[in-house]
Amino acid sequence: MYEIVKSEKLTPDVIKLEIRAPNIARKAKAGQFIMVTPTEHGERIPLTMADFSPENGTVTIAALEVGKTTKELGKMKAGDKVFSLVGPLGLPTHLNQYGNVVSIGGGIGLALMYPVVRAFKQSGNHTINIIGARNEKLLMYEKEINTVSDEFFVCTDDGSKGHHGFVSDILKKLIAENKKIDLVYAVGPIIMMKVIANITKPFNIPTVVSLNPIMVDGTGMCGSCRVIIGGETKFGCVDGPEFDGHKVDFDNLTARNKRYIPEEQISLKRFQEAK
């Protein structure tokens, strides 16, 4: 059992939890995730570590409340205990002195990109960060990301803040301006990552995306998380979660992530009716 130290809402449907897990905190690196099982009857779901503090012995997760399990996490308060946490899992973000790194986050990806862009900055890169959300209220981690940005862009679909439009518009603009870009890093909805990868491909700009296939164990034992990368089958949990965006079969990932939708709806309905 792992104690929740702090619980807060980042947006109406994003919960941020700081959980005591000293072992995980001392080993965690940017880009890695943990498997969370909220209760003994719960399912194991992967969540990226939005932060970790070896000093406090805590890890932080931010979850978009989409279904039963994330909504259940959303109800948890400081002092409550999580049944099981396993990690750090997956390969950390590959850090290097690339030069100009453009990082792009959308939706829940905003919470997840913060430790990664911070690490890019610490590794001596020029960091250009583009964040986006449907509207101003859904923006997260704006301040934090700004502090590790050399250049910073905010977009909203409805124009309530920053650029009126998509994060991809800014990327296109940078490319059109002949900005030197050595790496693009994208984390967010699958469709967003697919669009970004399609933009950078003709220009041969190395592009890393952080994938979110459905997982069970998270340790390479079951193959639930398999994704097709350059025609080859890889396991998202041990070979990833980050992959070369130009090689990812996004359509396969989208189809595979829908495979339990009827069951997920049963779960959610049951959970909501029980309240």
Binding site: N23, I24, K27, T37, H41, G42, E43, R44, K68, T69, F83, S84, L85, V86, G87, P88, L89, V216, D217, T219, G220, M221, C222, G223, S224, R226, I228, T233, V238, N252, A255, R256, K258, R259, Y260, P262, E263, E264, I266, S267, R270
Partner: protein
């Protein structure tokens, strides 16, 4: 001798006393255990079928077939007398998981395979007796207090809480060493908890056996992945020796076109969702599992039988096993094959998949397969399946389960650079379970490749003995060349 011969020969009851079972038509609708267990009276009668024969120069005994060398005649003698408490004590001297092995051991090829009674009649039901005694002990709460010797001051880390790791831990704790198990999952038991289904091995039993290990003074850290949290090298800084028992948890794939379609799962994913995560009780438990009207399982071992039988219980209309050789070569335990047939699993033998065909939404709909015939024996001694040209056929399937084998779990070898592995990816070990890294032992499926519970436990026993010797009298270690050779040979 002469006198003995004069005595009227003991009349042997030709068959094992029946094991009461749930009826097939009932049990396909539930996950309760299929054989319900014998009562005390039947157990005594079964034990009385044993001749208590003695070992001769050319005569092998049941005990020689048991990888952990249980004193079988002795425990059966006590059972004949109705002294179950003594009987289980004798088993426990060698066997940490009797309730498990009494259920899943391939005894027909092991202890019972060597039973003299079995030459002309059915062998003594040694497995059933072992199961009966372990269940009796658990039900009567006769566990007793575990006497522990004074601590030796030595610290041992065990990586993996499957049968191999649990055996090592139990054995070493009971001689006074301080043992800590690091287990990746939220519960210990390895395949016993995530793979073998409830109807063959109730999880309550695994839990109770794990509890016995814990009461022997073993500390257990769950949710602890070695290679991700700490490495073996980290453990060596704090512990005197390390045992690696991480099993064969990497699913093998067919690599045929269409394998990534929805509805195609590895046996591991399927069984983990159902067993470890209790998907069969969805939505009471949150992990979803779905089977279509027809489920096709590819493979013919215990894992395949478990998948096929689980599918029936999850409510599919037809469960088909697709296996490329004939019935005689099915690698599963005979009892499991019978159980599967009784329950109505359809066997499509001498047939191999070629391709998986899906619909527009990416869901599997059909398996394209081809008929096979058996040719000359191959390196494994089994007759090689050969495709019959032009015999392709289609089977409808909304769920396909891939149960064609398991490879060694790569995480520990990957993160321990000086640990030698074989071509197959197993950790190279000598006859005592020592690895190429001083102070590190290994055993079970990670060293042998996918095998059985009892062989993993046998490995654990041997390693525990060697570890104790290494810690207390002889810290020498084989030279690196030994492992160089081992890793090439295998």
């Amino acid at each position: 001798m002469a006198e003995e011969e004069k005595k009227a020969p003991k009349k042997i009851v030709p068959k094992k006393y029946p094991m009461p079972e749930q009826k097939p038509e009932e049990r396909v609708h539930n996950f309760n255990e299929v054989p319900v267990g014998q009562d005390a009276q039947t157990a005594i009668l079964e034990a009385q079928r044993c001749l208590q024969c003695k070992r001769g120069p050319n005569r092998k005994l049941c005990m020689d077939g048991c990888p952990v060398e249980i004193d079988i005649p002795a425990f059966i003698k006590k059972t004949q007398e109705g002294n179950f408490e003594e009987a289980i004590k004798i088993i426990r001297e060698k066997q940490n998981l009797p309730a498990v092995c009494g259920r899943v051991c391939p005894y027909e090829n092991q202890c019972e395979g060597l039973c003299i009674v079995g030459k002309k009649n059915e062998p003594v039901g040694i497995g059933r007796l072992e199961r009966f005694l372990a269940d009796w002990e658990r039900n009567e709460q006769k566990h007793g207090k575990i006497e522990l010797p004074a601590p030796t001051g030595k610290k041992i880390a065990v990586v993996g809480g499957g049968p191999a790791g649990l055996t090592v831990a139990g054995d070493l704790a009971r001689i006074g060493h301080k043992v800590t198990i690091f287990e990746a999952l939220q519960y210990c038991g390895g395949v016993l908890i995530y793979g073998i289904p409830e109807f063959r091995l109730p999880k309550e039993i695994v839990r109770s056996e794990v509890d016995y290990i814990r009461r022997s003074g073993v500390e257990i850290h769950n949710d602890y992945v070695i290679g991700k949290l700490d490495t073996v090298d980290d453990l060596l800084k704090e512990y005197d020796v390390v045992f690696v028992g991480t099993g064969a948890g990497l699913p093998d794939w067919t690599n045929l076109p269409g394998e990534n379609l929805n509805g195609i799962l590895s046996a591991n994913e399927y069984l983990t969702r159902v067993n470890l995560m209790k998907g069969y009780r969805f939505p009471e438990y949150d992990t979803p599992i779905r089977v279509g009207e027809r489920v096709v399982t590819i493979g013919g071992g215990n894992v395949a039988m478990d998948c096929a039988r689980t599918s029936l219980r999850l409510g599919c209309k037809e469960s088909v096993i697709l296996y490329r050789r004939s019935d005689a070569e099915l690698p599963a335990r005979r009892e499991e094959v019978h159980h599967a047939k009784d329950e109505g699993v359809r066997f499509e033998l001498l047939a191999a998949p070629l391709e998986f065909i899906g619909d527009d939404c990416g869901n599997v709909r059909q398996v394209k397969a081809i008929r096979m015939q058996l040719g000359e024996p191959d390196a494994s001694g089994r007759r090689r399946p050969i495709k019959i040209p032009g015999s392709e056929f289609l089977i409808d399937a909304q769920t396909v389960l891939i149960a064609i084998g398991q490879s060694p779990n790569p995480l520990v070898p990957m993160t321990t650079p000086d640990l030698k592995t074989t071509k197959e990816g197993t950790i190279a070990v000598d006859s005592e379970g020592r690895t190429s890294k001083k102070g590190v032992f290994a055993g079970g499926d990670i060293a042998s490749g996918a095998a059985t519970v009892i062989l993993a436990m046998g490995d654990g026993k041997r390693a525990a003995k060697a570890m104790h010797k290494y810690l207390t009298e002889d810290p020498s270690w084989p030279s690196p060349e030994v492992f160089e050779k081992l890793s090439c040979e295998m």
